[in-house]
């Protein structure tokens, strides 16, 4: 029972963070550059609850988040980005363990952007979109580091409870 309550709270948090972040206007002309703060919740869920719970929370955030504030195409981008990120992170969790959460977060961020870039390629059918890959990679590394550290600190605090 306790697990459901925790999962529900985390899902709500992920949703709130996602919606708030969606209100921030894009800082560059590059599609897909954002902080990705919702990933903090995915990481926290992975560590404190488990793989299945984290996936459920992720899907809730993607579905409801895009219903609440997504535009037409954003669901496809959110979905591929989110699933690529999740897959990469659980893979890295096995290789690196929880102690290297910051690296796991960066890998997730890179995978997220890669997934979105791939979706953009499939939907627009122009290979020129891949010109943006290096920019997205650098952005992913920086934001991934930030969210990873946030997640580490959050988990450290939550474990006190």
């Amino acid at each position: 029972m306790k697990k459901y309550i925790k999962a529900a709270v985390l899902a709500s948090l992920a949703l709130i963070i996602f919606v708030i972040e969606a209100q921030i206007p894009a800082i560059a002309a590059v599609p897909g550059i954002k902080l990705g703060l919702s990933n903090i919740i995915t990481l926290v869920s992975l560590v404190l609850l488990g793989k299945k719970e984290a996936l459920a929370i992720l899907m809730i955030r993607i579905t409801l988040g895009n219903i609440l504030c997504g535009q037409m195409a954003s669901f496809a981008y959110s979905l591929t980005g989110g699933l690529f990120c999740y897959a990469a992170m659980i893979l890295m969790l096995r290789l690196l363990t929880i102690r290297k959460l910051w690296a796991i977060s960066i890998t997730g961020a890179i995978a997220h952007n890669a997934g979105q870039l791939l979706t953009a390629f499939v939907l627009t059918n122009t290979k020129e979109v891949f010109w943006y890959a290096p920019l997205l990679c650098i952005s992913a590394i920086l934001t991934g580091l930030f969210t990873g550290l946030c997640a580490q600190y959050t988990i450290a605090r939550l474990k006190l409870f």
Partner: protein, 116 residues
């Protein structure tokens, strides 16, 4: 895996990305190619242009076509990133309007010896 190794890997990725961004040659700007929904909508030979003109490509996007480049001046998409992109004058970094599935790229193009 140690922290140091991981830091090196990510630093390496950043360096490679920067190298690609700054060192890869971008190609010329002779032809503007407009793609809508994956299919070529129009090809414009930029060097043939005498006066700049606007073009409405029907998806809610309006372009400004000039001899030295193309820019998006109007779009009814929510993020307006395509307008923010400004004018593109070389073959890299296309103008992309993801919501409308519009991509505009510049190319060296095949010039068959015709010159002004």
């Amino acid at each position: 895996m140690k922290d140091k190794t991981l830091i090196l890997i990510f630093a390496f990725l950043i360096v490679i990305s920067l190298a690609v961004i700054f060192l890869v040659p971008k190609g010329g700007a002779n032809v503007a190619k407009i793609y809508v929904d994956g299919k070529m909508y129009k090809e414009i030979f930029l060097f043939e242009i005498k006066k700049p003109y606007t073009m409405d490509i029907g998806t809610g996007n309006v372009l400004l076509v000039e001899k030295d480049g193309v820019s998006m001046i109007q779009a009814d998409c929510p993020d307006k990133l395509c307008i923010k992109r400004g004018k593109i004058t070389d073959g890299a970094y296309p103008i992309i309007c993801l919501p409308h599935k519009v991509t505009i790229t510049l190319d060296g193009g095949e010039v068959d010896g015709v010159s002004e």
